[in-house]
Symmetry: C2
Subunit: 348 residues, 2 copies
């Protein structure tokens, strides 16, 4: 190891040096932050008439991401979005982030900085402030754990357990793209430098590595009291719908032909002899919002879509519990919706 | 692998099964928890006249703990105390915990449950509620990341940056025991089953594996407006004092003979030809409180000690910055206090 690279290694910079480098470019500033980074705990003022939202997510190298086909910046972006999306799914405003990291000493500091930059870029549009964290070495994998704090008007948060029979079922954006993008990256991981993706492939990969949290949509649903229940699509549409149905004690019917599939996903499915509806139902990590709203709010929901410029599609209806969760196929036949959840202990 | 052990493996139980098992025995209940575990985020009411405290800590197998000489329950306890202690150091009341974990599939589920039990036991006396978390597999090490939320009366939190020249410097309990306990465990890690510790050794090991967070002391210091600045001893007395001095722009003098050393630590030092004062200054993870208070509050500080039954010792004084950080040795000689911080990137 040369002296200059040694001087920049994590071992030489040390924990405090690294934290200083990382937080320097991400100052915490908000009248509600009494004390940000640099004490035993951050101190925050509560907002009047608001309730607090708090959520945490882990992200482990070799389980949630693979640097063979993702850049450190991608990893940071996606981890940030996973957290922002949890607040979006409650209809809240993301405010503060705490970042805990375990990093092997072999990892070049510029990679850690790039990861942080991705995280910061993802949080930028929402003005989320970094208020704390903990950094340590790790024996073999990069380990990332984020905690996000948000706020929402008191008693207005969108939970999973308020869906009502007769509600319409909506989803933002398009679904399944992230799944297809991940498959492309995995297929080409051994020769990624020589991989020249087509425009279709570039779109799908982009949807995987740079998902968008639907924060504004969630906020408008809360402000206008439009939705009964909401969840974000992290495990996959069929599995996340399962969570809503279980918690709300209801069933649901999805119209296969109503699913918002991008033309790129359809092209990918055609080329690979895959069923695009299945890709959409099973694919995780779209970070779109799935929500239910009473029929009479339909026009107002479409107005939210126009205002935010985010497509919102009605994909089905909430049914009584006994109905279970069914998919109406394009040809009219109905089938039980397979619950193919993304289990982190059995999946990979 | 037999069918029955297979049935109980993490792979078979799955992420959701494990979370259910773990959270089942730790229900979240408080009028301020609108929604605990089981949605995209927890929803909390803010307490009137209070500010929020939030802190996060990572704990990685092979860096922060070693199952060769610690039980999973110890690991959970210690991780919980590290977090509670951060709130104690702010003079706050710990309220909620979020637990993120990465666990290799090789780890028997009963070990994960034991770790959780240790965590829960540590949090029990403070009535801390589990309100969220994320569980995943991990390729090789157990990775734990805790986020703790507490509250404190508005504008009363004890920070590191308010120490004033002339303040007395206090520490709770005894210092250095945890360091000695860790050394004992490490020395005997290869033959731990045959290791029959003496009463002295048992005491020191116990101090390492079952530290006590000084929550009540911190709360009384805030309630009675006694202290100017506080920090908990996680990196080690000399290093944590360094943080206070740096943030408060002051110096400090410690009286070596005033350091509260247990008779067990002295016996251990004698037997191993070590300097007990050095063990106390450098040893990390005591989770005692170090705080500064104006001279006129001395009697009231001693009253807090009597009331909480936690020893509190005056160990020195805050000096002007130019003084630096000095140690007065028992024989009267003064020396510069070495800053031997515990750096997680260079230490092990």
């Amino acid at each position: 190891m040369s002296t200059s690279s040694k001087r920049n290694s994590l071992k030489t910079i040390g924990e405090f040096g690294l934290i200083r480098q990382l937080t320097h470019q991400w100052p915490a500033s908000s009248p509600e932050i009494v004390k940000g980074i640099g004490d035993d705990a951050a101190i925050l003022k509560a907002r009047k008439g608001q309730q607090l939202l708090i959520s945490t997510d882990v992200c482990i190298e070799g389980v949630h991401f693979d640097l063979a086909y993702q850049t450190p910046k991608d990893v940071g972006w996606r981890a940030g979005v996973a957290n922002l999306s949890d607040i979006a799914a409650m209809g809240g405003t993301p405010l503060y982030l705490l970042v805990s990291m375990g990093v092997p000493v072999r990892v070049p500091p510029q990679n850690v900085r790039a990861l942080y930059r991705g995280l910061k870029d993802a949080c930028g549009p929402c003005n989320v402030a970094l208020i704390g964290g903990d950094t340590s070495s790790s024996p073999s994998q990069i380990f990332l754990s984020l905690t996000i704090v948000g706020s929402v008007r008191a008693n207005r948060a969108l939970t999973r357990n308020r869906a009502e029979v007769g509600d319409r079922l909506y989803v933002t954006g398009t679904v399944g793209d992230s799944n297809a993008g991940l498959r492309l990256l995995q297929t080409h991981s051994n020769h990624l430098r020589r991989f020249r993706p087509s425009a279709v492939e570039r779109f799908l990969i982009r949807r995987h590595v740079r998902p968008t949290p639907r924060v504004h949509v969630g906020q408008l649903l809360v402000d206008r009291k439009l939705a009964h229940a909401a969840i974000d699509l992290s495990d996959g549409l069929s599995s996340d719908l399962g969570h809503v149905c279980e918690d709300s004690q209801v069933g649901a019917e999805i119209q296969g032909k109503a699913l918002p599939l991008s033309s790129q996903l359809r092209a990918f499915a055609r080329r690979n002899n895959l069923n695009p509806v299945e890709l959409a139902l099973q694919g995780g990590e779209d970070y779109e919002l799935l929500f239910t709203a009473p029929v009479q709010h339909h026009q107002k929901v479409l107005h939210v879509s126009r205002q935010t410029k985010v497509p919102i599609s009605c994909i089905g209806e909430i049914k009584p519990k006994i109905f279970g969760q069914q998919l109406e196929l394009p040809e009219g036949r109905k089938q039980k919706l397979a619950n193919t959840s993304f289990h982190h202990f059995s999946h990979r």
